[in-house]
Amino acid sequence: MSREQVIVVKSEFDVLVIGAGPAGLTAAACAAECGAMVGVVDDNPSPGGQIWRGECGQIDSEAARWLRRIHAAGGQEFCGTRVFHQPEPGTLLAEAENHVFEFSYRKLIVATGARELFLPFPGWTLPNVMGAGGLQALVKSGLPIAGKRVLVTGSGPLLLAVAAYLRRHGAEIPMICEQASRSSLARFGLVLLRKPGKMRQGFSLRKQLSRIPFVPDCWPVEARGDTRLEEVVISQCSNKQRKAISCDYLACGFHLVPNTELAELLGCQVRGSLVQVDDLQQTSVPGVFCAGEPTGVGGLELALVEGQIAGLAAGGRSESAKRLFGERDKLRSFARALDRAFALRPELRKLARPETIVCRCEDVAYASLAQHDSWRASKLQTRCGMGPCQGRVCGPATRFLFNWSPDSVRPPIFPSRFDSLSAMPGTAETEPAQITGGHA
């Protein structure tokens, strides 16, 4: 029987880090500098995660800085590689373009970051309607945006960062629509006053965004177009009017949803969609740490601190890690203030019409879902959540719309090739190839 065997590459590490964003890279560097043999795994083609996404295949300078430290300490990264299963404790299976990795570890740091929350509204499935981070990622990946009109909507400081970035690259931004109310933002402004660093950031952004109207109490209600986006209708709470704004792209981001799937697969305790960790960023599973957004969406600086704490703790230098607790506390309280200021308003639950698609993988409309009482019932009857995104888009959306609780996570936590799944250890048939040094 002539059959190509799947190539399994086995790699052992003292500390394995999943996610090469800010939390993952700092954790990996700190652990490696403690003397641990460290590996970092990330699905994206280049390291840096979302915030430190480089342009056109290049590595962002901040990410590069941490990578140099990782390499100098003997660590290595595996990009274009996504974890899909844990066949046994201490081992993870990850799929790359043409082969499978069987990673063994003594300690694991989950730094899987977050994704955007996408809320359905009429027309949201049109091409060129994207997440705010989503459009930025695409532009960073080479999408020409100069001279294009981009409406920026949604919620949170990310909108400002995205708008500033797009504008720097020549986009025309008619408006930034923030769903939070003017009063929430004013209260948040008071919090900012107590943080000079944040204030400076704020002012710098403000300068970059001068002459772009920033409109609170404002959100998209409809995207229109034939085969792609042509205009967006927004609702402005202040004058209760709807306005149509012609644009080439809609960058629409309603906050972030932590990527907790891997932590859940490993059996880590998760409460309120957040991975529970102790002071040293340890989860409820011995030897498994978690840092960054999955423990609580809190932005770049918090991710950096948590990553360092986790890396030091996993590397055996808990005392050094403790010195960062104070910084972490401050950043966490700032993150909580952010959450309160930009909390999503109830009107956003009412945007979808009966025929608006909610599950994009299976094209399940709002009306089909609304008849059911639970995520599970609707999943079984409509197939919502059974597509390749495995509920990553429609799950958080339905949680927000209907207050449904999600299902438990099962392998594969990422769609993977049949022969990758069957590359689990325990077979005599696959030919494992050992790699102990260098880059895979």
Binding site: N44, T125, P127, G133, G142, L143, D363, P415
Partner: protein
């Protein structure tokens, strides 16, 4: 060892049409430059990238004969053949 020349532009085909992208660009960008959408949904709607980070699966296209590749996560390579649902 001879020095590798990293080209500034990469040439590939989208739905049979030639497209040129900056080196390091993703296939999703090439598809956009070709004026195509990535895929047709189950219900027949045209779809393109949504999340830009590989979790929404809306940017899927066939790359070098392999279906369902997330085009936003694949870097363009010279001579690649990309087919969308068009």
């Amino acid at each position: 060892m001879t020095e590798q020349v990293i080209p500034d532009q990469v040439d590939l085909k989208v739905n049979g049409r030639s497209v040129s992208v900056p080196s390091g660009a993703t296939v999703a960008v090439a598809i956009a430059l070709a004026g195509a959408a990535c895929r047709k949904s189950v219900g027949g709607e045209w779809r393109g990238p949504l999340c830009g980070m590989g979790i929404c699966f809306e940017c899927r296209a066939a790359i070098d004969g392999r279906p369902y590749c997330r085009s936003c996560q694949v870097l363009c390579r010279s001579g690649m053949e990309v087919m969308t649902d068009e």
